[in-house]
Symmetry: none
Subunit: 208 residues, 4 copies
Amino acid sequence: MERQARRAQVLYHAKRLFALQGYHRTNISDIVAQARIARGTFYLYFQNKKELFEELLNEALREISARIHRIRLGPNEPSPAQQLRDNIVRVLDFVLAERELTDILLNHAYDLDRDFDGRIRNFYAHIIEQIQRSLELGIKMNLVRPCDTRTVAICILGGVKEVAAQTLAEPHPDVNQLAEQILDFGLRGVATEELLRAAPGRTLEKPH
Amino acid sequence: MERQARRAQVLYHAKRLFALQGYHRTNISDIVAQARIARGTFYLYFQNKKELFEELLNEALREISARIHRIRLGPNEPSPAQQLRDNIVRVLDFVLAERELTDILLNHAYDLDRDFDGRIRNFYAHIIEQIQRSLELGIKMNLVRPCDTRTVAICILGGVKEVAAQTLAEPHPDVNQLAEQILDFGLRGVATEELLRAAPGRTLEKPH
Amino acid sequence: MERQARRAQVLYHAKRLFALQGYHRTNISDIVAQARIARGTFYLYFQNKKELFEELLNEALREISARIHRIRLGPNEPSPAQQLRDNIVRVLDFVLAERELTDILLNHAYDLDRDFDGRIRNFYAHIIEQIQRSLELGIKMNLVRPCDTRTVAICILGGVKEVAAQTLAEPHPDVNQLAEQILDFGLRGVATEELLRAAPGRTLEKPH
Amino acid sequence: MERQARRAQVLYHAKRLFALQGYHRTNISDIVAQARIARGTFYLYFQNKKELFEELLNEALREISARIHRIRLGPNEPSPAQQLRDNIVRVLDFVLAERELTDILLNHAYDLDRDFDGRIRNFYAHIIEQIQRSLELGIKMNLVRPCDTRTVAICILGGVKEVAAQTLAEPHPDVNQLAEQILDFGLRGVATEELLRAAPGRTLEKPH
DNA sequence: GATGAATGAGAATTCATTCAT
DNA sequence: GATGAATGAATTCTCATTCAT
């Protein structure tokens, strides 16, 4: 457990440095200086620089994945729109709680290693698929207008990513307000006209 | 002109390598090997690796900027929606025509240099402002529903960026179809309900 | 202390190489080979080659400066001639004790860097001024004949420098004998005729 | 002959550059740029950079050698002191007429090549011998007091060298005045007391 | 002869990683 | 475990010299 604490200490400082300067501009000297450990000690806890970075990146991927829940249908479930809203809020909460990790994921996770790039690509591809499935479900339920679900899913992902990226720079963003704007924009973008007509108000949700 | 041809040759090969492997994994040795020139020859045409990369990046930024036209209003102008569509098509045309440059811009332009990161941030910030101004104009014209124009602008930029990024991987994407989907999604996302009701068809444009 | 020992080791070998081959013909490879350390180790102790050289040169300048004492007048002080003799002996002692440093200073300290050349020029300019002041004092005391003290001071400096340079090549020079010759030549060169007449012997000093 | 003119042109510019910046800081690019010839053209006239430098240096050595005449005794010859004065004046005239060559010889002729250093050492050794022989002749003639002629010769050479070096920096030095000071200092430094007593005036020459 | 683009050996420096203490 | 000095492969960049036109 002591071991875990040391690892965590190093990870903490490395995370800050990577977020601030990126992978290549951050060297082992910087990390051990910040973590106040000896150069050699670093290698007692991590195989190498890449492994450390990978661990941070994995944490980000894992955490974000965990915050995106599959849309569940059922009488006791919140409305799909509410579930989407919850997903967005959870992701943005993570973005703010872990600005450094997010920064690393969005801005510094490329240019490392071939299989690394692949992993991130897969991660996003997976999210795109999830969104796509939701859209297809929505179409079946007549909530979503027919469209090229893949392209629209990509647009939605891109929108969230860019909001996340831009949000990093802001001191005290209002997550709920951001989520609302994203949701409103996205839902209107995909809603059937019937749905829009039925629910002209601000929160665009299926009437019960 | 001879000089320009040589430069172009080196730029061509460097571009491919940067797109394939990123900035840090591409070293001068790789570039000169691909371009089939001697080590020293490289330095006759470029001060250093960074300058070469900068030149490529600048080309991408310049070209994309040039393809995003400001929305013009007037009796002889195409409809705003058509102008947006044209912008998207022009940008996606560039993405396909210069997949490598796009790849570099989207995936490998970070983690280089402090002032570099800044330049790219400015580039996107500028585009966000442009979109935001268009949205505000649309609101005044009652084409766009009131909303947090900055957040929505960020969503739109993100959508286009992500489509561009995903499109890079596809062999023969249909640019018009992609543009149509983006436009449709985006316009519905921001349209006033009045406008939506008036134009229920697929192409969401203001009726004349 | 360990650190200082390593530095000293590298300095020692670098000094020998610089004396033997000069600055430009001595490269880092030579130095690390002689010092039997790895390439990178060099940079743990010195920023770069120039800094190392500078350190050696500074030592030479400092040491020589320290050995040239200002002429003191007073009832308990040795005669001015004796003080001059002591200065010369101390400098020549250094020359022999640190042949390599002297060689570097006299023969290899040019052609490096602009500000470097300046530093050495200042060093000699300072010594010329010191000699000049002594001569002027001597004139006031009627020990030295009136003359262009600056030019004569330059002659004296040049004489000592050249003796030092030539002495480097000799295996077992007699420092006292050399000093005596320099002193005798220099003093007679500047002495008033009155003084010469009063002290016709070998050691040309003011009679008490 | 055209060929000689071209060579001279290149030599002229190279000389200025070498004097200004030294051998190592002056590169072929600088020289051909100043001489307004193409890179390759340089090698039509000179084997390489070193040969060019060597040629300049040889000119300096040759010219200075030529200006140092052996002391001739005889009824129709000027006095030895006058001959010495003439030697000094000729050398200083050269110093001023060819400041750049002198600068090169005094400040930038080391650190090139092993055999180069040797050549310069020989040059000075030769001059020292000449002076030494003059001194020995003087001793025989009872003009010069007995002394370690080699050390004194070195002092004399050093004096002249240093005056030459310092003179380079001055805008309009008075060569005759400098020569007079050097001569006066040097002659008094070596004169027999008998000679000094016989000729107490300023110009220390053997009475006829 | 003249040109200047091309060459490539060589030099300095960095930095992730190892290993003796 | 902890340390930090040592390592050396890898990389960038320079510049005297060559050579096809």
